[in-house]
């Protein structure tokens, strides 16, 4: 029987957990790896000079942020990317940066217009 972690109903990821997860270079590299294709934990650990336990710790952080989902396939665990939380984080930051930079551009224009009066 295939037990799918992805099918379990999980609460939405918290954005601060996403940022925390993405702050580490090894975890970003792991994410890029599983973004290419789903991988087993062993495959994920192979390129890194760290213990399986250390990789497993990174996977837990990524899992808490809901950036990866694990599935059991027999005795293997398959790890997949879940990009939605990252995308939401990215979109949010970009949207508000654009919004406020536009306001500050407009404030600069106002000050310039007042100066030239």
């Amino acid at each position: 029987m295939v037990k799918s972690a992805a099918r379990r109903k999980t609460p939405p990821a918290r954005l601060d957990a996403v940022f925390h997860a993405l702050a580490d270079a090894t975890r970003r590299s792991i994410l890029r790896g599983v973004a290419e294709r789903p991988k087993t934990v062993g495959e994920i650990a192979r390129p890194y000079r760290v213990s399986l336990a250390a990789v497993s710790k990174h996977l837990k952080v990524l899992e808490r942020a809901d950036l990866i989902r694990r599935e059991k396939r027999g005795s293997f665990q398959i790890v997949r990317l879940n990009a939605a939380p990252m995308r939401a984080a990215e979109e949010w930051i970009r949207r508000y940066e654009r919004f406020w930079n536009r306001q500050l551009d407009a404030l600069q224009d106002l000050l310039d217009r007042e100066d030239s009066r």
Partner: protein, 151 residues
């Protein structure tokens, strides 16, 4: 910094104007309506400001014939250093947002730093939208983006 409950965006800008002049632009309706919540194709047609702690403001911005209310309350007013207010745009953003503006004097003018914090509920809504691989977003977030970035 990220706290447990909010996500944060930070932008900053240097102006060749005194802190007082920049600060006052946010609270004087006639000046504020000429920049705040404007954009190309969007004009503020009404601006009401009750510039007291606990006082409210209302800006009505018109775009493509549709009016968007921008409403909030002033939480802190410390001229010309610090201004904190809530912000809601009910038609667009559903959740609680808080904006903190800090203005510091620098040689020849001032530097304004604006921090926008939003309650997490907003993301939870957005995150329910399903999940698709988004490699471009991954690359961007991973290589360039920091949670709070000062320009």
């Amino acid at each position: 910094m990220q706290s447990a409950k909010t996500a944060t965006v930070r932008v900053s800008r240097r102006f060749n104007a005194s802190p007082e002049r920049v600060f006052d632009a946010w609270l004087d309706p006639e000046r504020a309506r000429r920049f705040l919540f404007t954009r190309p194709g969007q004009t503020v047609i009404r601006a009401e400001i009750d510039a007291r702690v606990g006082g409210s403001y209302l800006f009505v911005a018109r775009r493509d014939g549709v009016d968007y209310d921008h409403v909030g309350k002033y939480l802190e007013i410390d001229r010309p250093r610090r201004l904190v207010f809530t912000l809601q745009v009910p038609q667009v953003w559903s959740d609680f947002n808080r904006v903190t503006i800090e203005i510091a004097p620098v040689a020849g003018g001032c530097e304004l730093t604006l921090v926008h914090e939003a309650a997490l509920a907003e993301f939870e809504d957005r995150l329910r939208g399903g999940w698709t691989a988004f490699l471009e977003g991954l690359e961007l977030v991973a290589s360039e983006r920091e949670p709070a970035r000062v320009r």
